[in-house]
């Protein structure tokens, strides 16, 4: 399953909910303001890094670039463009947007 999170972890708790409920082997894609969770030095960084033991984590590169944080991405986070976003949706049988 592909989990899509689009809000900053400092604004909503949707990333927390997602990480709590996502099962081992699932993928999490961070888009829009959620890409802040994929950057170093934030409160969410440790949580995300711990989650990477069981989950594959992706972040949308255009949204990182738009926010000027592409140079601060956590190790282990995979970057994708919109084409990669489409591939992720196609590769997983189901997807869930955590709105």
């Amino acid at each position: 399953m592909l989990h899509i999170v689009n809000k900053s972890p400092t604004e909503r708790n949707s990333l927390d909910s997602c990480l709590r409920l996502a099962t081992k082997g699932s993928a999490v894609l961070l888009i829009e303001d959620a890409v802040y969770a994929a950057t170093k030095g934030t409160a969410a960084a440790a949580k995300l890094q711990a989650a990477m033991a069981d989950l594959k984590v992706y972040a949308l590169a255009p949204d990182l670039n738009a926010r000027g944080v592409a140079g601060r991405v956590l190790e282990g986070v995979n970057l994708v463009d919109y084409g990669g976003f489409v591939d992720l949706v196609a590769e997983h049988n189901t997807c869930q947007s955590w709105l």
């Binding site: 899509i4 689009n6 303001d33 976003f85 489409v86 949706v89 196609a90 997807c95 947007s97 709105l99």
Partner: protein
């Protein structure tokens, strides 16, 4: 593969309309089929042909219309969500006795059944919203 997209957020709000559009373009660029884009809740405002953004800003509504025209994409606006927000096509204008209509070219007004059907017909339904 067949994709469908659900847009739940209005244009120029956060980023959902833009993300949905970029995703739609990428779906087509990858050679997939885009079965339908369904606009629900404040997402119906993506269909207002009276939208006039500043000249140096992207025109979210015209962008959708162009996508529909170029690729024959079915853009469907939820009727109940639309009427609550003053979004009417010509038929609804007459039916409701109003003096104007504002649905942009390429969009059509229909019911929630169109979302359910898109969920059934498409292999993947991706939601963008607030």
């Amino acid at each position: 593969m067949k994709f469908a997209i659900l847009v739940n957020e209005g244009p120029y709000t956060h980023q959902a309309s833009d993300s949905a559009y970029q995703f739609a373009k990428a779906v087509l660029a990858k050679g997939h089929e885009l079965y339908r884009v369904f606009f629900y809740h404040d997402g119906v405002n993506n269909a207002s042909r009276l939208t006039v953004p500043p000249a140096d800003d992207r025109h979210i509504v015209n962008r959708w219309s162009a996508l529909a025209q170029e690729h024959g994409i079915d853009l469907v606006v939820c009727i109940a969500a639309a009427q609550r927000r003053g979004m009417l096509d010509e038929n609804e204008m007459k039916r409701q006795g109003k003096d104007a209509n504002n649905i942009a070219p390429g969009f059509r007004i229909s019911g929630l059944g169109q979302l359910v059907e898109a969920g059934i017909q498409a292999d993947r339904l991706v939601t963008f919203g607030d």
